[in-house]
């Protein structure tokens, strides 16, 4: 699978790393990545360093994660986006919903 997860030592941070294209085909794997975690997880990091492309359905999936993690109270960081990915996130005004670094 092009999706890998990693838990921090204290178990509170879950990093989800997506390789290649982040589009509808990763839907199930992406959902599995965060839904099977336990309740100790308080912070999510979506690591896009190896993500080449992101489409509008991936935007929807990020919103699913956001709602799962508590909606407006969710603590989600989107990290290491390349220029193309960053541009799509910013056109969609996702800076207002996520911490994008």
């Amino acid at each position: 699978m092009p999706i890998h997860t990693h838990r921090s030592e204290d178990g509170q941070t879950l990093t989800i790393k997506i390789e290649g294209r982040f589009d509808f085909s990763t839907h199930q794997a992406f959902r599995d990545a965060y839904e099977h975690g336990d309740e100790k997880v308080t912070t999510f990091i979506v690591d896009l360093s190896d993500t080449t492309y992101l489409d509008s359905s991936a935007l929807g999936m990020l919103l699913l994660l956001r709602d799962y993690a508590g909606g407006d109270n969710a603590r989600i960081r989107i990290e290491n986006c390349n220029n193309d990915v960053r541009r799509i996130l910013s056109i969609s005004n996702f800076e207002q919903l996520f911490a994008i670094r």
Partner: protein, 588 residues
């Protein structure tokens, strides 16, 4: 070479002996060993036969009437030329001096009378091996000589082609001085200069790892991109990005191009410089102050596009300032003791220069004095650009080279995916590839891909498959949506999605029109897009992306036909006269 290099054919052996009986014995013996034998009664006859039938081995009696063996041996060696024809003297002489004279005359060995069949056979075989080896070596030498000649000839022609591509610019402008020394026919260094359509000029100086043909092959596309893009008005950064991308793709790992890009504006009197891996350049101010132009970047062809930084540093200048740039051949020029010229000697040369001396001449003289005119070990390129008043360069920009980098500018393409292929194949990479042939679109590959991909997704999911994004309102619905998508893809017989791409050039760049049609029954694009604003929905962002990236988006035929127009611009083209300032990215 007409004979095969290894053979088992009988040897042609020439015997010369004035004794009829000895000759007969030897002839019979050799024939029994399977060889073809011709015989002569004296040296003169032997020469005649040798000329006619070119035997492989010659057996010569030392003492014969008319012409003796030694005399004949000398002639035969001359006639044989480069061919190794073993000469064996037949002799009953036992005096060491006489035997030595036989060898001096060109003989290779002796056979003493009376003959021993075993010795004769062994010697003939031994000399035949030597003869064959000699022939193989000569053959190889001839091949190498011929190939080398062809290679030099090809390089000579290739160099002419290369020079036509590489030196079409404005290196002869009055404010440019340069020295470029080829180490072989091809120079591993490149130096290109081209006037910009909006005034000023752009210069690229580079040094490929390696020399000769490999470096020249890398230099060709660099020259084409540089002249093609510069003459169309692309900025130095754009050209760098394009060259970096191209070199990254074509050069093997470990080969790259150290380079500096200089964009000179004589109207604003300003230099923009990017240095990736070249030695420090020097900006010499009119008042004597000096500023080093340090390399802050990796060479071209090393980093991928996403990590490549093409940002150029701006230097304000005045007429009378001079920029010096060089390849590492300048630093590495060696003197007779094997020491290198180096930065300190360069600085010293510049320190010692008098007021009004040309910095270029000063440094060239410094290098020549240091190396004592040693042949240069590395490619050595030194270049100076004088900052002048704009008016002094009148005429230079009129010599814009004809662009070598046209790329497809006006084209039209229809691609239709049908039936079950819809469920198995994504046309997006192919369509993107077609668009990426246009240099101006290549910088925008991410945006073009998004446009194509969102159009395709909409046509497939909402059009052909008739899926409604209302399902995506809940996390579970999201899953059901994609499960249903998978299921419906199994039954798409009779359906199609058709892309029509049209690219045209405009005054300021180009325009890509994309039409995406599908065989579905349409979808409610108004509802889809109106909901995009609300943050709580998980869907509906595709249309928003299309609208924001494209110049215009129109849905027709109940949503089965989407039309989008995407404009791109040459960056920073000719805004000097007008008052409009263009966005560097081109889109707005």
């Amino acid at each position: 070479m007409d004979e095969p290099l290894t053979d088992n054919r009988p040897l042609r052996i020439l015997i010369a002996d004035d004794s009829d009986s000895d000759r007969l014995i030897l002839k019979t013996l050799l024939r029994r060993l399977g060889h073809e034998v011709e015989d002569a009664a004296n040296g003169m006859e032997a020469l005649d036969i040798f000329r006619k039938s070119a035997p492989d081995i010659v057996l010569l009696d030392a003492l014969m009437p008319v012409m003796d063996g030694m005399e004949a041996a000398r002639h035969i060696k001359v006639l044989a030329g480069e061919r190794l024809v073993p000469l064996i003297f037949l002799t009953s002489l036992s005096d060491a001096d006489a035997l030595a004279r036989c060898l001096e005359a060109g003989g290779d060995d002796f056979l003493t009378k009376p003959y021993s069949r075993i010795i004769i056979e062994a010697k003939i075989n031994a000399f035949n091996r030597m003869r064959l080896m000699h022939r193989t070596l000569s053959h190889h030498r001839d091949l190498i000589r011929e190939r080398n000649r062809k290679l030099l000839e090809e390089q000579e022609i290739a160099k002419r082609v290369f020079d036509n591509v590489a030196h079409t610019g404005c290196l002869d402008a009055p404010n440019i001085r340069y020295h470029a020394s080829p180490m072989s026919i091809f120079n591993g260094d490149v130096l290109f200069a081209c006037p910009r359509p909006a005034g000023g000029m752009q210069i690229l100086i580079g040094d490929f790892t390696g020399h000769g043909l490999p470096a020249a092959i890398g230099a060709m596309p660099v020259a084409e991109i540089f002249y093609g893009m510069t003459s169309k008005g692309f900025s130095g950064s754009d050209v760098l990005r394009e060259i970096n991308q191209k070199l990254g793709r074509i050069l093997p790992t470990g080969m790259f191009c150290c380079a500096a890009m200089i964009q000179a504006d004589f109207h604003l009197n300003q230099l923009q410089i990017w240095n990736g891996g070249l030695p420090d350049g020097v900006l010499l101010r009119k008042n004597g102050a000096r500023e080093n132009i340090v390399s802050h970047h990796l060479p071209l062809g090393v980093l991928g596009t996403a990590r490549f930084d093409a940002g150029m540093k701006i230097f304000q200048t005045e007429p009378g300032d001079t920029l010096l740039m060089m390849t590492d051949g300048v630093m590495e020029a060696e003197n007779q003791q094997g020491e290198m010229y180096g930065e300190q000697r360069l600085a010293r040369s510049l320190n010692e220069a008098g007021q009004g001396d040309s910095p270029f001449e000063t440094v060239m003289a410094g290098i020549r004095a240091f190396t004592g005119n040693q042949p240069e070990q590395d490619d050595l390129t030194l270049f100076s650009l004088g900052m002048v008043e704009e008016g002094e360069l009148a005429g230079v920009s009129e010599r814009l080279p004809q662009s070598a980098l046209e790329g497809p500018a006006e084209w039209h393409c229809v691609y239709e995916v049908q039936d079950r292929t819809l469920g198995q194949f994504s046309p997006l990479p192919l369509l993107l590839h077609i668009c990426m042939e246009v240099p101006g679109l290549r910088r925008k590959s991410g945006e073009i891909y998004t446009l194509l991909s969102e159009l395709y997704t909409n046509a497939l999911e909402h059009g052909v498959l008739g899926l409604c994004s209302d399902w995506k309102a809940t996390p579970d619905g999201f899953g059901q949506y994609y499960a249903e998508r998978e299921r419906r893809l199994g039954d798409v017989a009779g359906h199609f999605i058709r892309f029509t791409l049209t690219h045209t050039m405009t005054d300021r760049g180009g325009r890509l029109a994309i039409v995406c049609e599908d065989s579905g029954s349409g979808f409610d694009y108004r509802k889809e897009s109106s909901a995009a604003g609300s943050e709580c929905r998980y869907s509906g962002r595709g249309l928003m992306l299309l609208r924001k990236l494209g110049h215009s988006l129109n849905y027709r035929e109940h949503g089965t036909r989407a039309e989008i127009v995407y404009d791109w611009h040459f960056s920073e083209v000719a805004t000097r006269e007008g008052s409009t300032i263009q966005q560097p990215g081109g889109w707005s």
